[in-house]
Symmetry: C2
Subunit: 343 residues, 2 copies
């Protein structure tokens, strides 16, 4: 078999605001790979099937001198994120051709990997597409599950406010909160997203672009738990409507990721007067505590249809740059997945 | 004995910025009281000896429609706070003349109280003036002790940053942190306050008015624990210099109490990326957990001279309005005490 194209999505330039497809990232189709003969050097050759686009990727598209919890992407190299691929060839006894591996991949069509420990061999469950393993059954679902267990401390009668409630993180939080018997207020950025939030159990769901969050919280709050995916003015409204002793789970603040001047939160004194507990977290650092129950208890409930989720599928690695922008601007409805290849 | 003057400090007007003596509060010497014959109606007559002036009082000098964790002061009525008084007469078997009572008093020279449960009868310990019971051995000391126990979670090698480090709260925190073997960075607002912070064990002490906090934290941090008494720009600097998993103990934010426009905190995303845990608290709600060990273990160490403190004594209830302003503007060096009368 002749060598085939091995397309790549390269980090090309640090964006100043929103990432621009073809500028921040560029698709490069100039490399080829000989799938039958390429040297594996004890490793395994993987055909990438699906790649995840998540809000946090914006944080890695930064200048190398800026510090953060994860390394910046390297200019002229492929960006990377969670994905699922299928093993084509292997010289590593821990994985075999046909295995489906969940883990962190470069944004390429084919990749040779050496460390089998860095990947999880997935079961082929009925009713669970591989894409689910990078969404509700992958890092975003883990995010919701781990931090909810760790920090929510739900009590009877509690009111929870969930932002970005149609995304893979928010929608999972809505469902976990309803399981715990709480009243759920959910916000999202379109009427169709709001309808989905209602359909999965949110008691009050609203479009934050047309209804002021502050008004809704004043009417339906005060809130005992705030799941923050957005930061900024919405965080400010949540602080002003926090109940005594409320828990704030700080998952992300997408409203600020592409802003040139960060928004200043003016009412942090609420932290003192309302005796708030605010927890930031990085999913990877909670994984060891909950990963086993996540895969043994939670994932089967997704497969059974009990836990609902939405996907936003984008076909072709060449369209990943546009998908990155969609996720930063909220154009996607549901978990954004790049379908790199069919199985 | 003829009736004597019963001076009072009345709440006269809601301040817009700093509280103005003679305007925000006014001293009224028009009332008299007949100490021998005034009807007690089953209660007890107390001569007030010392009253506490604390930063948080500013929050009670607000319009009645503004909600907060404590009630607003009532216009034309005496303000109130913690104090120590001596019982002159009593019809309540739980207290007797000569008893020294710690509790919440109106700002008056003499008061008739009914609820003995609301006061604590103090031991007359050698080397412990009654004023200490409203400072390091009272609410401010309790503040430090309770929240440090509850939220600091000190670990070997931790670095702690304490603001307002010469005050009764900050200075106690400095000493608790040193007991736990931590490196202590302390800030205060004058060179003499800084010298005191050093004398009680701070490893690095600086005058935040002449040395940028951010520079000090960049050099001496990152910080694992931040004790916040000030908020604002200093909180922002602390967020930028927080170590992974740092604990922020939000005690107060005096930099904002008298500001017309609140300062906006622009780097709250640090909460997520550094996995911070931020705890607001009100001392009264932690009291039940630690009050017994506070009085049985901590107070004797103050009496023995092991725990150090500074006092800023102001004689005369008529000067309390000025003292309130001193505390809001940081003019006081040490715990501000109004000496209403000698014992």
């Amino acid at each position: 078999m002749a060598p085939v194209t091995n397309g790549r999505l390269l980090f090309n330039e640090v964006p100043e605001g929103f990432p621009v497809p073809g500028k921040t990232t560029i698709y490069d189709g100039s490399q080829t790979i000989d799938l039958e003969n390429v040297a594996l050097q004890g490793g395994f050759l993987v055909k990438v099937l699906v790649l995840s686009i998540d809000p946090y990727l914006r944080g890695r598209m930064r200048a190398p001198e800026k510090k953060s919890y994860n390394p910046p992407f390297t200019l002229s190299e492929p960006i990377g994120n969670y994905g699922v691929g299928v093993v084509i060839r292997s010289e590593n006894p821990a994985v075999k051709p046909g295995d489906h591996l969940y883990g962190f991949y470069p944004f390429v069509q084919y990749t040779i990997q050496q460390d089998a420990q860095a990947f999880r061999v997935l079961d082929d469950k009925p009713n669970l597409p591989w894409s689910a393993y990078i969404g509700v059954c992958g890092m975003p679902g883990e995010t919701s599950y781990y931090a909810w267990k760790e920090y929510a401390a739900p009590k009877k009668g509690d009111v929870v406010f969930v932002t970005a409630a149609s995304g893979p993180v928010g929608a999972t939080v809505v469902q976990l909160a309803k399981e715990d018997g709480l009243k759920v207020i959910a916000s999202a950025g379109s009427d169709e997203k709001v309808a989905f939030a209602s359909s999965i159990g949110a008691d009050v769901a609203f479009n934050y672009k047309t209804v002021p969050t502050r008004k809704v919280l004043e009417k339906e709050g005060p809130i005992n738990i705030y799941w923050d995916n957005v930061g900024g003015e919405i965080l400010e409204a949540a602080l002003d409507n926090a109940a005594k002793g409320a828990r704030f789970i700080e998952c992300g603040m997408i409203s600020g990721y592409n802003a040139q001047t960060p928004y200043g939160i003016k009412n942090v004194m609420q932290i003192v007067t309302q005796e708030l507990h605010i927890h930031g977290f990085i999913v990877g650092n909670l994984r060891h505590k909950y990963v086993d129950e996540f895969y043994s208890k939670f994932v089967p409930r997704v497969a059974s249809g009990e836990i609902k989720y939405k996907e936003y599928l984008v076909r072709g690695l060449e369209n990943a740059g546009e998908a990155i922008l969609d996720v930063q601007s909220g154009k996607n409805f549901g978990k954004c997945v790049i379908v790199v290849a069919d199985d």
